[in-house]
Symmetry: C2
Subunit: 214 residues, 2 copies
Amino acid sequence: MESVSLPTLRRLPKYLMLLQSLEQQRVIYVSTTLIAHELGIEAIQVRKDLEVTGVVGKPKVGFVVSDLIQGIIRFLNWDNRREAFLIGVGALGSAILGYQGFREFGLDIIAGFDNDPRKIGKTIHGIEILDIVKLGNLIERMKVRLAVLTVPAAFAPEIAGIMIFSGIKAIWNFAPCHIKAREGVVIENVSLSQSLGVLTHRLSKMEQNYSEVI
Amino acid sequence: MESVSLPTLRRLPKYLMLLQSLEQQRVIYVSTTLIAHELGIEAIQVRKDLEVTGVVGKPKVGFVVSDLIQGIIRFLNWDNRREAFLIGVGALGSAILGYQGFREFGLDIIAGFDNDPRKIGKTIHGIEILDIVKLGNLIERMKVRLAVLTVPAAFAPEIAGIMIFSGIKAIWNFAPCHIKAREGVVIENVSLSQSLGVLTHRLSKMEQNYSEVI
């Protein structure tokens, strides 16, 4: 089985969003040329990316929108609910617990964990918060494989270690620290500070250039 | 003034995090070799990236940690507070309003906007929520240049249009829809679904391979 490139994987949800909005507008067929134009991606790239889904277009008319939607969802495995634990129920962790949107992507957070006695035993957005000391044991017993990590940076490596030891296979890491990939474990680091850094630097650079022109 | 590459810009906050944790451990000097090793980046790349800050290392001992921290913060313009509006006070928007961490990066959200009458006039985490119909006017009058966009995808392009027309120069877009870059406007799209897609696909692939082995 051929491995799919990271850029292709990242573009698939983009195609999905566009296709879903086309479906809402009751569009039946779509060409790669249109997708390419809408998203500012080369048509040949779109064609190559969509090949991985196994969905085949029809000559002259293109793809059936709903087929392509199903194909991408299947490929990303978003048609299967997947149980996950969330660790670190601070501002961001609470927000993620309350955000129903991720369920569309198959993410089913079944419990939160924290070390704060004021949070343990409480229910946030219908999800129970458990004591973090139980984390390793519950990962083993409940065979949870996916974790959302929203703890402060200082705690992240240690907790990642405990989780991986207990059987976690995929970590969605929001902690502002890079967790290194390991054999047999998938880690996706989301760094909001990196993204904001790009923005603030470019904005200030643009303003400098502007004042130089004046 | 030479333009800095996007990958370099994205790595700078990573260096910063590492350096801040070294500073907490009272480390005074750091070599590019150590940074490279800790972050799994080539040493020659680290050296090139850090050059943009203008901070110069000392032969044999390397960089003074605190100098490098200041250099990166200055370069990313995180030493200047920057006023911003947040648009869309849902689950994610509220979380961002409540998250003090972004202040470290110079982001100072001074008002939130929403179209929900139950939210307008309220204060969330000390920040007032205003009626979205006032958005364009207030951008002009208060000369706000930075916006955090956390509305549903369907509203994002229209609101982005209004904001840019009124004078917004940089948009940090969390809406699950791609907003195209325009002349004189910086847009940074944060797509959580793209990130989650990488994770769920790879996890399911790994599990398939595992069961094939058995």
